[in-house]
């Protein structure tokens, strides 16, 4: 007998993954869902095959996440629905929809600790009776309620559907393979309608409002609010949203991040990891082991332990220089995500972003872009139209440096005079604004509007923050290392066979005449195509050697920031945007990078 499929479903950020991990342990299979960029985790718990789904507000096909969640839910034998107890108005809508689909459901009523803190009480037995499904109160980070949940999985039941829906469902009962698909047809889900080639329902509005009314009744009967004085969290939330206080809070946050990353990590930590650990201890160690086997200057000497060697430059850049910066950035990002501050920044900046053809939601890919453009380009999927996705991707690849690159830039900029640092920052901002405004004017069509849910502020949980940081940093290591190795081999080959010199000479009109830089800078530019941060790191080495004047450093930094996306980002770019848009973005960012660099060189150098 095939294992029963236990599917986890819930709204975004309700703590679903904690339940998934608690059930399945460490042997989890993460695979890409065909035709999308959505990853699905699968694992085992006793006789169940446990499948996670992306967080959604409802089952339908408004976006990729919803389509994936829908397909997985339709296959489910039973559903563990994770509900945020302080968000019942939003979350129970999905619960009722799952019940209406006719699947056996068990509800984990999560975040029960916050219910008390916010002066709420929930009558759980009554709610169970009204919905007709078992409800287990839980506090996920403390694993509270998990034993009860596991014990009661078998009690999952089909629950009470909204009145009258059964008669409608009966109409399609014999048409569909899974009984639940009948509801999707009634709710005008185009893909399911097309699958069975039936006349679609016209009942979405009717069913949705009936479901809403029912849920409102359930909540009115089970939830009691005690009058509480406005808490500090609510005050802080208001301050974050109002421009007068919100802008200073945002600036303070950014300045804090800058000092944390640029000062503490990039100077103090990298000073130890890059110079001492990797640059001295590790370098001497590897030289003493490998050195005796090869004569200096021979091909294998250069390939392994030369200036761009696989065992010298690659680990020094990846582990010594970039990893601390990446870990630092993802740590801050996880804090921002978990605290609930991001959607507030989205609301605060919505008005401004509308001017460049985006809405407040675009803040999320933009901030992620400082981590890695590859991730951020995928996240542009949350934006409502092709137009917005194009504008956001263009601005991301062009004007947002990734964290590792940013770190190197910060280190280099900190040795420059303040007015030169300012020149760099202003140039990048100007390019961002001008390109955004121009695209908004030139691109046909209209952008969509902001409609987002703002969750309550929360104190980030350190365990959660650290585990997110670890996952993303590990991802960086596995993605970056092979590319750095390819890059190192390529550069060594070019150098050893003297091709690098000819490329440098061929590009001299651009690098030397237009940008007024020494021709050696061509090498970091080539490295930058392989990976952005690789290029920035190469540039760092050149300034350490004293090859660049401060003015030239600014020009080179501007070009390498605006410059083409690295190979990984370019691949995602082609996959996500199609070749026409991708080529436009690719060529566009090249042209803008060199034009801006040339202009700046004429002014400064």
């Amino acid at each position: 007998m095939a294992a029963k499929k236990l599917v986890l479903a819930g709204n975004p950020n309700v703590g679903k993954s904690v339940f998934f991990n608690a059930l399945t342990g460490i042997y989890v299979d993460v695979s890409n869902y065909p035709g999308t960029t959505v990853d699905i985790s699968k694992g085992k718990y006793n006789d169940y095959e446990v499948i996670d789904t992306p967080g959604v507000y409802g089952v339908s096909s408004f976006n990729d996440e919803e389509r994936v969640a829908r397909d997985v839910i339709l296959q489910a034998d039973l559903i563990l629905n994770v509900v945020d107890a302080v968000h019942l108005d939003r979350d129970l809508f999905l619960t009722q929809q799952l019940i209406d689909m006719g699947k056996p459901v068990i509800v984990a009523l999560n975040m029960m600790d916050e219910v008390e803190h916010n002066g709420l009480t929930i009558d759980i037995p009554l709610m169970e009776e009204l919905l007709g499904v078992p409800i287990i109160p839980t506090v996920a980070p403390k694993k509270k309620g998990f034993e009860a949940l596991k014990k009661n999985l078998g009690q999952a039941s089909t629950g009470n559907k909204i009145v009258g829906i059964k008669d409608y469902l009966a109409k399609y009962e014999n048409t569909v393979d899974h009984a639940s698909e009948a509801l999707m047809i009634l709710e005008e889900d185009e893909e399911i309608i097309a699958k069975y080639n039936v006349n679609g329902g016209t009942l979405r509005d009717k069913i949705y409002s009936q479901r809403r009314t029912r849920i409102n009744n359930v909540i009115d009967l089970t939830l009691k609010e005690m009058a509480l004085n406005i808490s500090f969290k609510q005050k802080l939330s208001k301050w974050m949203l109002r421009p007068v206080t919100g802008v200073p809070i945002l600036l303070a946050t950014l300045i804090f991040m800058y000092f944390f990353l640029g000062d503490f990590i990039a100077q103090d930590i990298v000073g130890v990891t890059e110079e001492l650990i990797m640059g001295t201890w590790y370098y001497e160690f590897i030289m003493s082991i490998i050195g005796p086997f090869f004569t200096e200057g021979s091909f294998f000497f250069e390939l392994l332990i030369g200036e761009s060697g696989l065992l010298t430059m690659v680990p020094t850049y990846v582990l010594g220089l970039l990893l601390p910066l990446v870990v630092g950035f993802y740590f801050l990002l996880a804090l921002l995500e978990d605290s609930g501050y991001l959607p507030r920044i989205a609301a605060l900046l919505d008005k401004t972003l509308t001017k460049i053809g985006l809405n407040g939601k675009a803040v999320i890919p933009m901030i992620l872009g400082f981590g890695c453009v590859t991730m951020a380009t995928i996240t542009t999927r949350i934006l409502g139209s092709k137009r917005e996705r194009f504008i956001a991707t263009m601005l991301l690849t062009l004007a947002i440096p990734c964290s590792a690159q940013l770190g190197v830039i910060v280190v280099m900029a900190s040795s420059l005079a303040p007015q030169l640092t300012l020149a760099y920052v202003l140039t990048i901002i100007a390019v961002f604004v001008v390109v955004g405004l121009a695209l908004n004017k030139l691109m046909p069509g209209e952008s969509t509007d902001l409609l987002i849910d703002i969750p309550p502020l929360r104190l980030p949980r350190i365990g959660n923050v650290l585990s997110k940081t670890w996952t993303k940093s590990w991802h960086f290591l596995t993605e970056a290392t092979p590319l750095f190795m390819i890059g190192a081999v390529l550069i060594t080959l070019l150098q050893f066979f003297n091709i690098l010199a000819s490329i440098q000479n061929a590009l001299a009109p651009i690098v030397v005449s237009l940008l007024r830089l020494p021709k050696e800078v061509t090498t970091p530019f080539i490295m930058g195509i392989i990976r952005r941060d690789f290029g920035a790191a190469g540039l760092f080495t050149l300034t350490e050697q004293g090859l660049l004047s401060p003015e030239q450093t600014v020009v080179a930094l501007v070009v390498i920031t605006l410059f083409v996306p690295c190979i990984a980002a370019a691949l995602v770019l082609f996959k996500e945007r199609g070749w026409k848009h991708a080529v436009a973005i690719w060529v566009g960012s090249f042209a803008i990078a060199f034009a801006t660099g040339g202009l700046l060189a004429a002014l400064l150098v």
């Binding site: 968000h87 108005d89 409002s209 009314t213 939830l223 609301a347």
Partner: protein, 92 residues
Amino acid sequence: MRLSEVKAGDTIEITSLPNPIIRAQAIRLGIYEGAVIRCSEKINKGPVILQNRLQEIAIGHKLASQIIVEIITDHRSAKNEKKGPSLSYGYK
């Protein structure tokens, strides 16, 4: 009147939402025709923030100007009352 003209502190009833897709997405978040809800924050020419218990929803300016609402309690009278009106919709 339009939702974009509402002031922070007003309690309103939503009377019309612009199109089926917006209607379907908004109703999941508790915004639907007939919902009585409070505007907790308003950024000038920017988003309107609607609040229902601990749930807040931000709606961009352009979309807000396509949503038709009726004022139930004005922000000035809400201030005069000590505790403000009960926010739990479902009872009007």
